[in-house]
Subunit: 364 residues, 2 copies
C-alpha cells in the first residue's frame, strides 16, 4: 500500500479524454475502487476508517479526479447543477408544472435544479447570474411563465442555455414553446366537426405569440373547411374572466349570433359561461364553448366541464432538461438547431361542445 498520492505513479491510466479514472485513485491510495466510490460518495453504510477516507480524498484531489458533485470542492469541471431562471413564476397558474417537469427529469439523470426568480428585474437578474456562475452551474434554463419573446440576460457567455415557453427575436438559444397555431386549428376543427359554421372569438388584446398564433390556426381551419373568416366575430378584451364576459355579451348580441365560442383562454371562457347564463343560453345545448390552457380548477371547475386545449407545461420542462443535458454532455454532438421546438397542445374533451341548436341544417 503506497502511503500517499503520486500523480506520476506508474500504472496510472487515464480516461480517453485525459482525465484520471477512479481506478487511478484506487491504485494511488492503495484501496479498492469500491472503497473510493464509497468514500467520495459519502455512503453512510460503508465501513471505511477515517484515516483511509482522508487518504482517498487527498489522492483524488491531487490527481484531479472529480467524478461527481462531491468533488466539486476539489476543483472539478462539472457541478451537476442546472439553474432555472424564471421571470414570473408566481403570476401564472401552471408555473409549477414547468418546474416539476424540469426537476423530475433532472433528478432522474442525477442532476439538481437551482431556482432563481427575477420578476423581470434586471438588477435581480444580474445578481442571480453572478450567483449561478459562482455555483458553477453547468446549464441554464431560462423560463418564461407564458409564451413570449425574451432577451437572454447578459453574463451567461459560455454556459449552455435553453429557453422554456419563450423565444428570442433573433433565433438565439434552443427554445421550446407550445404550438399555438396547431392548437388554434385543432380547437376550431373540433367545433367545425360538430357542425358549427359561425364561431365567435372572445379574444386577447395583448401582443403576444398566443394571441396571433391561435388566431392564425383558427383561420387555417376555417379555410381548410371552406368557411369564410368574419372579423366581426373576433372581439378583443382583457384576457381574464371579465374580458371574456364583455366580449361574449357583444358576440351573443349579434344579429346572426354565433353558435359556438372559441375563447382565447379558459379564464375568458369562464366569463363566457356567465354571459351565456345571463342571456339564457344553455351550454352546450344552445351554445358550444371551447377554451385554451386547460387551467386547473377553472376548466374542470366550470359546469359543464370546459372542453379546451392543454398547454404542455410539464412536457416543456422535460424537453428543456433533456436538451440542455445533451448540450452539456455531448457538446459537439448537436443535431442542429430546432428553434423553437413546438410541442402540441392536446384537446381535452369535457362537456361544453356539442352540435349547434339546429345541427342538421347548419351542417349542410
Amino acid at each position: 500500500m503506497s502511503g500517499g498520492a503520486n500523480p506520476g505513479a506508474t500504472g496510472r491510466r487515464q480516461t480517453k479524454d485525459g482525465r484520471p479514472s477512479i481506478r487511478d485513485v484506487a491504485e494511488a491510495a492503495g484501496v479498492s475502487v469500491t472503497t473510493v466510490s464509497h468514500v467520495l460518495n459519502d455512503w453512510e453504510g460503508a465501513r471505511v476508517n477515517e484515516e483511509t477516507r482522508r487518504r482517498v480524498r487527498t489522492v483524488a484531489s491531487q490527481l484531479g479526479y472529480a467524478p461527481n458533485r462531491l468533488a466539486r470542492g476539489l476543483r472539478m469541471q462539472r457541478s451537476n447543477l442546472l439553474a432555472m431562471i424564471s421571470d414570473h413564476i408566481a403570476i401564472t397558474p401552471h408555473a409549477g408544472r414547468v418546474i416539476l417537469g424540469a426537476q423530475e427529469t433532472a433528478s432522474v439523470r442525477g442532476w439538481t435544479l437551482m431556482l432563481f426568480t427575477t420578476a423581470g428585474d434586471p438588477a435581480t437578474e444580474e445578481r442571480d447570474v453572478r450567483a449561478l456562475r459562482a455555483h458553477q452551474v453547468d446549464g441554464v434554463l431560462y423560463a418564461s411563465m407564458f409564451h413570449r419573446v425574451v432577451r437572454v440576460p447578459p453574463g451567461l457567455e459560455g454556459v449552455p442555455v435553453v429557453l422554456v415557453d419563450a423565444r428570442t427575436e433573433d433565433g438565439g438559444p434552443d427554445a421550446v414553446v407550445p404550438d399555438e397555431v396547431r392548437g388554434g386549428r385543432d380547437a376550431t376543427e373540433e367545433l367545425i366537426r360538430q357542425g358549427h359554421r359561425r364561431i365567435g372569438l372572445p379574444w386577447n388584446r395583448d401582443d403576444i405569440p398566443a394571441t396571433h398564433g391561435r388566431l392564425a390556426g383558427h383561420r387555417d381551419a376555417l379555410a381548410a373547411a371552406g368557411l369564410p373568416f368574419d372579423p366581426a366575430l373576433v372581439v378583443a378584451e382583457e384576457s381574464e374572466s371579465g374580458g371574456g364576459y364583455l366580449a361574449s355579451r357583444r358576440l351573443l348580441a349579434l344579429p346572426d349570433r354565433p353558435t359556438a365560442l372559441f375563447c382565447f383562454n379558459d379564464r375568458m371562457a369562464m366569463g363566457a359561461y356567465h354571459a351565456a347564463a345571463e342571456v339564457g343560453l344553455r351550454i352546450p345545448d344552445d351554445l358550444s364553448v371551447i377554451g385554451f390552457d386547460n387551467q386547473a380548477y377553472v376548466a374542470d371547475g366550470l359546469y359543464p366541464g370546459l372542453t379546451t386545449m392543454a398547454l404542455p407545461h410539464y412536457e416543456m420542462g422535460v424537453w428543456a432538461v433533456e436538451r440542455i443535458l445533451d448540450l452539456i454532455e455531448r457538446p459537439g454532438d448537436g443535431d442542429g438547431p430546432v428553434t423553437p421546438q413546438l410541442l402540441p397542445c392536446p384537446l381535452i374533451r369535457r362537456a361544453s361542445v356539442g352540435p349547434p341548436p339546429d345541427g342538421r341544417s347548419a351542417a349542410t
Copy 2:
C-alpha cells in the same frame, strides 16, 4: 501552542446550551477566533497554512463545534445554499408563491435556493436528500403544498430544517402554517356583521388541519355572537367545484334555508355559485357566499367577485427563509420554539357578501 485537540482542556467555556463555542476551538487549537472563523468558513482571502487549517478542523470536530456543519464531514465551508424539498408543487395552484417568497428572501440575503420535488415518493426523497447533502446545503425547507402533518425525511440529521405549510405530529422542527382557526372565525364574523344568523357550510371531508381548524374558528365566532351551532348546516363533500355544488344544493333545499354560505374553499364556492344560479338565487342579494384561499382566477374570476380569506403562501416562504437563516447564522441564539408559527389569513372583500334578504328583521 498545544498540538492537538483536548476536549477536557482547562479554560474551555460553553455556550448557555452546553455546546462548545468558537472560543473553545480557538483555545484548543492555539489560534485566534478569527483564524477559526476563517478556516471553518473557508474564506479564500485568509492566509492560513494547511497545517493550521487541518488542526483547526480536527479540533472543531473533536469538540463537536457547530455540529450542523461538521456533520457534513470536514469540508464545512458554508455553501450559501438552501434546499427546498416539496411534496406536490404542481398540484396546488399557489405553490409558486411559497417558492417565490422563499426565493426572493434568500436572494436578498445572498443565498441560493435549490429545489427538489419528491411527489411524496420515499425513494425520490432519499435520492434528493443524498443530493442536497452532496451539495453541502446549509439548510432545508420542507414544504408541503397544503397545510398538513408530515414526517421529516430521514438523512437530514445535523442540517437545520424548517417546515412550510406543514407540521409534524411531535413538535419537531420549526414550522409555519396558516392560522386556519382565526381565518374561519374572521370569515364567519364577516357574515355575522352583515346580519346573517343561519350560515351553511359546504365543507371538505378530508382529515386535514384546514378542515378542522376553519370549522373550529366558525364555531368560535358563532359562540361569541351567541348563535347556536347546527350540525345540519355542515355538509361535507369533495373539496372541489363539484362537491361545492352538491353540498350547496342540499343546503339550499333545507326548509329553513341559510342566508349565507361559508365555503371550505374557493373551488367549493365556485360550485355554490352554480347551485345558487340553478335555484334562482342571486349573489349577494339573495345569498351571500364567502370562500377561503383567495385562489387566483377562481376568486377573482367568479361573478360577482368572491369575498374570501387569503392564504399567506408568499409570507410563509419569507418566514421560513428568515427563520432558517437565523438557525444557520446564529445556531446558539435560538429564541425558543414557536412551533408552529401561525400566519394570519387576511379577509379579501369582493362583492359576494351583503346583508340577508330581509336584513333588518334578521339583524334584530
